[in-house]
């Protein structure tokens, strides 16, 4: 089974390239870009944090906040203004693409835009514009094997004492059975 972070990254790459014509998604952020790679998008997830309140759930289902970085690079512009305009258009397209489906193809519960940093670099054959957009995606993960030492839950016996004022003979009793069904 793929790690959920990997699924989210891949789903976001697909979502962005499907909605932004011409955008070239890079699978690795460790390979230097070449001339034909522009406009380029690089998606990576540098941070994954757990909502501490969900640590007490049983079975342990953790709410996670995944930091997603979306780098956009373009070489379409002959001066800083043109490059920034091109970047602004691309960043808006990224926001719009994510706005169409903030579950990122069903891989996350939600995705929220945080901020964008922009820079124009003048080394190389042409000017290069770079925007780094940050998003936070929320998703849940269930820790496997967390309850492996517990017995199976087969029956629940309940007694209803309304207002804590009923005599034992008046209290309703329920027995819930058939709980230990196999997982789908």
């Amino acid at each position: 089974m793929s790690v959920q972070k990997k699924i989210i990254r891949e789903a976001l790459r697909v979502q962005l390239t499907a909605n932004i014509p011409g955008l070239v998604a890079q699978k690795s952020r460790h390979r230097a870009l070449k001339k034909g790679d522009f406009p380029a998008v690089i998606v990576y997830t540098p941070k994954d944090t757990v909502d501490q309140e969900t640590q007490n759930s049983a079975p342990r289902e953790l709410l996670r906040n995944l930091t997603i970085r979306v780098e956009i690079l373009t070489n379409q512009g002959n001066d800083g203004g043109e490059i920034e305009d091109a970047l602004d258009d691309l960043c808006q397209s990224v926001e719009n693409a994510l706005g169409k489906d903030d579950s990122i193809g069903g891989s996350a519960s939600d995705a929220m835009y945080e901020d964008t940093e922009t820079d124009v670099l003048d080394d190389g054959e042409t000017l290069i514009g770079l925007s780094i957009m940050t998003f936070t995606a929320q998703y849940y993960s269930v820790l496997q094997g967390d309850d492996s030492d517990l017995d199976d839950l087969k029956e629940i016996h309940t007694t209803w004492n309304l207002g804590a004022a009923q005599a034992p003979a008046e209290q309703a009793k329920d027995i819930l059975t058939g709980l230990n069904t196999p997982e789908e």
Binding site: Q26, S28, R29, H30, R31, A32, L33, K34, K35, I42, Y44, E71, L73, N75, Q76, G77, N78, L121, D122, D123, G124, E125, T126, L127, I128, L130, I132
Partner: protein
């Protein structure tokens, strides 16, 4: 001393010809074909240059032209925004000019997109 270096530059440049057709056009559209100047041939270079852009960086080239200031139709120090260099038909703008103080100048170029 500067005069000797300039003479030596001219001698070296007169023997160097990498075959490109190189011209320079000033902001007032006065052009000169530098590669046809009898005594000096400009030197065009475009070696690899790595650009540290984002996480991955960009494997690019750094186009540059060395020529004599006197051969140009404007001073690239002042005319860098509008002047253009053409190399085999490719148009470049000047991103930086580096005069050597001895009559030569290296023009760092950006390709027009």
């Amino acid at each position: 001393m500067a005069e000797h270096i300039e003479r030596m530059d001219r001698q070296v440049l007169s023997h160097l010809n990498s075959g490109e057709v190189i011209s320079y056009r000033s902001s007032v559209l006065v052009s000169v074909v530098l590669s046809e100047v009898a005594e000096t041939h400009p030197i065009f270079d475009a070696t690899h240059e790595f650009v540290g852009a984002g996480e991955s960086g960009y494997s690019s080239i750094g186009p540059a032209l060395f020529c004599k200031l006197a051969d140009l139709t404007s001073d690239p120090e002042e005319d860098y925004e509008q002047a253009r260099v053409f190399v085999n038909g490719t148009e470049y703008q000047i991103r930086d000019s580096e005069p050597d103080g001895k009559g030569g100048v290296t023009l760092r170029l950006h390709k027009i997109v």
